[in-house]
Amino acid sequence: MPQASQAQLDPSGAPAKSPMTFALGEFWKSFRKNKPAIAGTIIVLLFIFFAIFAGFLAPQGINDQNIRLKLQPPSAAHWFGTDDFGRDILSRILFGARLSLRVGFLSVIGSIVVGTLLGIIAGYFGKALDVIISRFFDILLAFPSILLSIAIVAILGPSLNNALVAIAIVNVPVFGRLVRSRVLTVKEEEYVMAARSIGMGDARIIFQHILPNSIAPIIVQGTLNIATAILDAAGLGFLGMGAQAPLPEWGKMLSDSREYIQTAPWTVLFPGLAIVLVVVGFNLIGDGLRDALDPRMKN
């Protein structure tokens, strides 16, 4: 415990920095010094920019076909070349950023909401509910995630949105376990006991005391999970279990161009590079957040 400063020393009554603002300041100080994390932020912001302004940036639409210009190598007119329908690959990649980022963010938000809910129920109320929920997590985690998403997509039917849902479901236990363990820790804090002693109800305790103390690890895990969600969505697209033609989803673009790898390798090269780049970006941010928010989480 750092020596508490004497409050009387400053009678001005100016509201002091909250520990939250203080923590944010500290966090920013440490994050800013982390060059890889800044690089990751720039990459991700760039892709978000692409996604938002794809309509302005892209030289062509996602399905502007020109069979006479099919499988053209990169040139001034088509920076990344053209595919087997003569579509501009750069344009498709720019629009593809929309799809991948959407899957990444939405699926992770879904996993966080459901996982947090289940994790709180399991950790806070415990007993039979905890056993059931924890076993449920164990069982879901017993399946390799891509297999489980495939199975779920098989039920829902192959589409990008169903892939999104499947990925969200598969990642629920990741956040569920995380939140549960945070809840178990925070629940034992004396200020939670104090909150109960003043007659506070469970809902208020959870929202006022327990959740705010669980947010940091959720954000770290969430960022890293966006990266894997994007990878998984591309994998599903590649297997034909995700986005369907003519959507310019990067994994789907890869599987469609496979057969031209010999004659037109650029059709395979650029969509893959886009995936790697954006995933690297999220991983860098995630690592940086982890180091800045909680040095003990480093591993």
Binding site: M1, P2, A4, S5, Q6, A7, Q8, P11, G13, P15, A16, S18, P19, M20, E189, E190, Y191, M193, A194, A195, R196, S197, I198, G199, M200, G201, R204, Q208, H209, P212, N213
Partner: protein, 321 residues
């Protein structure tokens, strides 16, 4: 000062310890094992005992922050044990608690104002403006300043934080305050300030205290009656002065002799307790104190002494009486 405001009967808390083969319950920790006492309106009941003897558990059970395994808690002629979860939350308005650790018991993310206001929000007292006014009054009442409301706990010293905890407990105008070692974590110089504050507040608001401490000297100045606990049981309960001047139970005597005497000329027979407090999972048979008791007799290891009432009103559990 005679009506019992709060009465506790045969309160018990057993913790099953899982372990051993196949996670069977292998032993039971008897954290509190049949505690009974009553508290009269406006008085202070001190509860003393070595660390781990079940004081905090007792205090928390009275508020049902920990569910008792067994026992009755009668507050204002109502058995609290029969209240629903909802009713219990309402009932907590009348009984409040001050915690031992002034660092851990205040949420570091909330402002002092919010911390003190929270009980009033929970119990729907007044509107925002009234509550804030009361927060400022409370802060001044406990010796802080109104502007401290906008600060965060980490900007205060231990003693100041304990004052914040006291203000929080007072916010809903409770009848009873359970103070669980409120000064143990504080410097000796600060301890007496906080104790005096508690005394003043008691007079001003006609409060009833249950004051828990592991140290007999702290309790003496504030208590009307004192109960001494050992391994989950009350071994002696008596008027404060009688207990300090004429301790009867061998354990009380031993505890008292360990208290440093301010005047070195006064000779006391120091009784040094041998050995450690036994684990509440394996309390010795018979009198739980017999393996450390200088006056132990044969019967002590065989039969558990009952809590008897002596003619001066003192309650004691020892085969000597």
């Amino acid at each position: 000062m005679n009506e019992a405001l709060l009465q506790v009967e045969n309160l018990k808390k057993y913790y099953p310890i899982k372990g051993g083969k196949f996670g069977k319950v292998s032993e039971t920790v008897r954290a509190v094992d049949g505690v009974s006492f009553s508290v009269r309106e406006g008085e202070t009941l001190g509860i003393v005992g070595e660390s781990g003897c079940g004081k905090s558990t007792t205090g928390r059970m009275i508020m049902r922050l920990i569910e008792p395994t067994e026992g009755k808690i009668i507050f204002q002629n109502r058995n609290i044990m029969e209240l629903s979860k909802r009713e219990m939350r309402k009932a907590r308005k009348d009984i409040q608690m001050i915690f031992q650790d002034p660092f851990a018991s205040l949420n570091p993310r909330h402002t002092v104002g919010h911390i003190i206001e929270e009980p009033m929000i929970v119990h729907r007292m007044g509107d925002k403006k009234e509550r804030q006014k009361r927060v400022e009054e409370l802060l001044e009442l406990v010796g802080l300043n109104a502007y401290h409301a906008r600060r965060y706990p980490h900007q205060f010293s231990g003693g100041q934080r304990q004052r914040i905890g006291i203000a929080r407990a007072l916010a809903v105008r409770p009848k009873v305050i359970i103070a669980d070692e409120p000064v143990s974590a504080l410097d000796v110089s600060v301890q007496s300030q906080v104790l005096n504050l508690l005394k003043d507040l008691q007079k001003q608001f006609h409060l009833t205290y249950i004051f828990i401490a592991h140290d007999l000297s702290v309790v003496r100045h504030i208590s009307d009656r004192v109960g001494v606990m050992y391994l989950g049981k009350i071994v002696e309960l008596s008027e404060c002065e009688a207990l300090y001047n004429h301790p009867q139970h061998p354990y009380t005597k031993a505890l008292l002799s360990a208290v440093p005497v301010p005047d070195p000329d006064v000779k006391t027979d120091r009784i040094i307790l041998q050995g450690d407090v036994p684990s509440p999972a394996h309390p010795p048979a018979g009198c739980a104190f017999h393996d450390r008791c200088p006056a132990a007799m044969d019967i002590c290891s065989k039969e558990m002494p009952m809590l008897k009432t002596l003619e001066d009103g003192r309650k004691i559990s020892c085969h000597l009486y």
